[in-house]
Amino acid sequence: MTYAAKNLTTGGRELIAFRVGDQEFCVNIMSVREIRGWTPATPMPHAPVYVLGVINLRGAVLPIIDFSARLGMKPAEPTVRHVIIVAQVKSQVVGLLVDAVSDILTVSDSDIQPTPDIASDFERSFARGVLAIEGRMICLVELDSVFPHEERDAA
């Protein structure tokens, strides 16, 4: 992890990178509580398609979001090789189903490029910027906009 090593000295922030399909994303490591394997979830009635259901996380009821479906991509077909990123968003703890966790990155703010202007409003709402690292493009995700919120957009 040469890139990380280079940036440790500059006191950048740490991100967790993960893969969904053929794309890479990352989130701030401070909001990640743990990473765990997939377990079957209990479906919720009338839930949006990207809410896979809820699982038991040591006694707490944890909703699981299919990240791929959330972004309007192909819904995941969860297998034992999928992982759940358990993340804290404000007061809620939510699980994010992704294909795999790939990296821990240490970047400084200057490494983050603004979201390219080809993006639609939808992509803009969750992307906070992009990182170009060793030839890869990694999208920095705004977790707040990915997770469901109480009382938001009540139809």
């Binding site: 919720m44 009635p45 009338h46 038991n56 006694g59 707490a60 909703p63 809620q92 919120h149 938001r152």
Partner: protein, 757 residues
């Protein structure tokens, strides 16, 4: 810890003291004349006063002071705590509670009421017996200074003759310089709390001309001396015009840790009879710096004892005087025969004190966290057992034994942790006695509240939520249930009505019963009202029970006239709803002319729920058992189609709508065939029945309730979640919402979770 925290602790303690005060007064009201009860009441007011003084809560202090003074009259047998006196005191306790609340939350109090009570209390303290027919609140007693009374000290208190038996003769105290005989016998607690007998005696000497005798009879041999014990007592003769109160106030902070008797000289003969004590000459000068005086002057002691005292004296090594020697003579020794009586006495007082079990205050969040963790432990333990059994079919016995023990332990831990939240219903019941008093005063009725089973324990959250519906029902019972005294006499009843509040455990639930001996429900009028309100058809044939239950109907609460006509009904729908929200049920039975009984059955805790575990479209769901009336296996002949999509099931010649739970929760696209499933007959809030179709019943189970809202959002039709033995989450059905949805209100529009992008 800052000032506010300390203040908060004071107010919490006040709450306890107020509860203690009220329960003590109620005990006295029931004829309890145990001096310990009087003391407990006095102590409660005294501590509130003390704390309030420290925080500068002047209103509270001045009221508590007057109250305390009057209570002191009762304590010293100068005032007979009869019903009339206790009425004033109970009202004073209410005012004291109001003042405390006002000091805490900054609210206002009814000043006229507290002024009135101060007058009444002062009148009582002055020995004015209230008229038996005293009106409830106003114009009760004349102002305090009406009678010519002995000199009043600076606190507004005048000395009153004190004796044990002849108190009723109304003997006036000697006005010029009465001599008091004071017996002061410290317990070891006095010294343990840092008090010093020397200082108390010195304070006392400031009140007037004083002579002291030290009683050393209890002093055991040195080798038998308990260093922690107190062996000396003092008999003091004090000539003073300050009055008994002033003398007692010297011992204000020591009075619970010593035996103290104060009496006017003249009762000496009697005093001697009761106190077989040999007074020892004791000079006040001994309190000063001369160490050896007392032992030398002592001439009435047995020689052996003298030796012991001398050695005790030297053992005290430089102890400046005998008085101080008592606490400092701490040679390791056993209690001896002479100390035995003192020990017995202190044991008796300890027994009295142990009636109140020591408690600690804990933040409810911490307990909740613990309960959560234990719930996890139970589930984990179940999962572990399951996987051990699966992976190791012929398992070694040591593993199985270990698992069994683990299972027992976890169950025990779970029970104990649940018990932490359990509290007696007593505080709620006590609050009700105040409400009864107030409503009785307002309506001019005479009511007696009898409570039973107030030590029945139930979860704190249940207790908290019980107060409101109970208040409502008590109000109704007194206001509408009971007749006026005149009507009661006319009906040949005791003019004093009785309201009985009972709590007991029955099959894992708490049952609370509220019974009155009033007129009962006037069924004719209830029925008429229901017909007028279009609740029932004019020719409907209803059983008595059905008519009684009409008062729970929402329609009844809007018509306020019903309270005058039927005797019941205002807001009873609200009561029913809040009881149901607690997972409880309420029933009424009424006998004309004999009164009504409301019976509430509530779960012991809100953290655990009795549920029916069912399967719907391959999902496991839990249906709260309280909602289920019965389960049945539908037969094809009982199913009737109704319109395009509705289906009804006939149950004993009535038709009940069928609701497919799987369909309404959107777990499947088409309705399941009812014949292949099981119907749960449920009753919802509005009283409407529905047959909920599920695929299969797995069994009944107690489940731990988990919040969905914490991490997700409210889901219509789902009340909460739980975790099953296999570690998976199961949803708990919100039966009321499902029934409402089946009436045509879709579950979907309430959905708060929508695409956010």
């Amino acid at each position: 810890m800052d000032m506010n925290e300390i203040k908060e602790i004071f107010f919490q303690e006040c709450e306890e003291q107020l509860a203690e005060l009220e329960s003590g007064l109620l005990k006295l009201n029931d004829g309890d004349r145990d001096p310990e009860t009087v003391n407990a009441v006095f102590r409660a007011v005294h501590s509130i006063k003390g704390g309030a003084g420290a925080f500068g809560l002047d209103d509270l202090v001045s009221f508590a002071h007057v109250f305390e003074t009057t209570l002191d009259c009762v304590r010293s047998n100068r005032l007979e705590p009869n019903q009339e006196v206790l009425k004033v005191m109970l009202r004073s306790a209410d005012v004291l509670a109001d003042l405390t609340n006002a000091a805490r939350d900054g609210g206002s109090v009814d000043e006229a009421r507290s002024r009135q009570l101060i007058k009444e209390l002062e009148a009582l303290a002055n020995g004015e017996v209230p008229q038996a027919a005293a009106e409830p609140a106003p114009k009760a007693a004349p102002p305090a200074a009406a009678e010519p009374v002995p000199p009043v000290n600076e606190e507004g208190f005048q000395p009153v003759a004190f004796s044990f038996e002849e108190f009723e003769t109304g003997e006036e105290p000697a006005i010029d310089l009465p001599t008091y005989e004071i017996l002061f016998r410290p317990k070891s607690d006095l010294y343990a709390k840092g008090n010093d007998a020397t200082l108390l005696l010195r304070d006392l000497s400031r009140l007037g001309e004083m002579s002291i005798h030290c009683d050393m009879d209890d002093l055991p041999a040195l080798d038998r001396m308990n260093p922690e014990a107190a062996y000396f007592a003092w008999k003091i003769s004090l000539k003073t015009d300050k009055g008994e109160e002033a003398i007692r106030s010297v011992f204000e902070f020591a009075e619970w840790d010593c035996e103290l008797e104060v009496m006017l000289a003249g009762d000496e003969a009697q005093a001697h009879e009761e106190l077989p004590m040999q007074p020892v000459p004791f000079d006040l000068s001994m309190l000063d710096e001369e160490p050896r005086a007392p032992v030398e002057e002592e001439d009435r002691t047995v020689a052996g004892e003298r030796n012991i005292r001398e050695s005790a004296d030297s053992a005290a090594e430089g102890a400046s005087n005998v008085v101080q020697m008592t606490p400092s003579a701490r040679a390791p020794a056993e209690n001896s025969r002479s100390a035995a009586s003192a020990a017995a006495q202190s044991a008796a007082s300890q027994q009295a004190a142990s009636a109140a079990t020591p408690t600690i205050r804990v933040d409810l969040d911490r307990v909740d966290r613990l309960i959560n963790l234990v719930g996890e432990l139970v589930i984990n333990q179940a999962m572990l057992s399951q996987s051990v059994i699966e992976n190791d079919a012929n398992g070694t016995s040591s593993i199985n034994m270990g698992l069994e023990e683990l299972q027992q332990l976890t169950r025990e831990i779970q029970d104990s942790v649940m018990a932490i939240r359990a509290q007696p219903v007593k505080p709620v019941f006590q609050r009700m006695s105040r409400i009864v008093r107030e409503i009785a005063d307002m309506t001019g009725k005479s009511v007696r509240l009898v409570t039973e089973g107030e030590n029945t324990e139930v979860d704190k959250t249940v207790i908290d939520k019980l107060a409101e519906p109970l208040t409502h029902m008590i109000r109704n019972a007194v206001d509408h249930g009971l007749e006026t005294p005149e009507k009661r006499i006319a009906a040949g009843k005791n003019p004093e009505g009785t309201v009985r509040l009972t709590a007991k455990h029955r099959s894992g639930r708490i049952v609370i019963e509220l019974a009155d001996d009033g007129a009962g429900i006037n069924r004719e009028k209830v029925r008429q009202k229901a017909i007028d309100n279009d609740l029932i058809a004019a020719d409907a044939n209803l059983s008595d029970e059905e008519i009684d239950n009409l008062i729970f109907h929402a329609g009844f609460s809007t018509a306020d006239k019903i309270s005058d006509i039927s005797g019941r009904g205002v807001g009873m729908d609200v009561v029913k709803r809040s009881i149901q929200a607690l997972g409880g049920r309420i029933n009424i039975s009424s006998k004309p002319g004999q009164g009504s009984i409301f019976t509430m059955s509530l779960p012991l805790t809100l953290a655990v729920l009795d549920g029916m575990v069912v399967t719907v479209a391959n999902q496991t769901l839990v249906v709260p058992l309280t909602a289920i009336v019965e389960t049945l296996q539908p037969e094809a002949s009982a199913i009737h189609s109704f319109g395009a999509s509705q289906r009804l099931i006939s149950i004993r010649n009535s038709f009940c709508p069928l609701v497919d739970v799987g369909r309404i929760l959107n777990f499947r696209a088409i309705q399941a065939n009812p014949v292949e499933g099981v119907a749960l007959l449920v009753e919802s809030e509005g009283g409407g029945q529905r047959a909920l179709m599920v695929d299969a019943i797995q069994g009944q189970r107690q489940v731990v309730i988990k919040s969905l809202e914490a991490n997700y959002t409210h889901v219509p039709g789902i009340a909460a979640a739980t975790i099953l033995g296999d570690g998976r989450v199961a949803l708990i059905l919100d039966v009321d919402a499902i029934v409402a949805a089946s009436r045509g209100q879709s579950l979907k529009p309430e959905m708060s979770l929508a695409a956010a992008g």
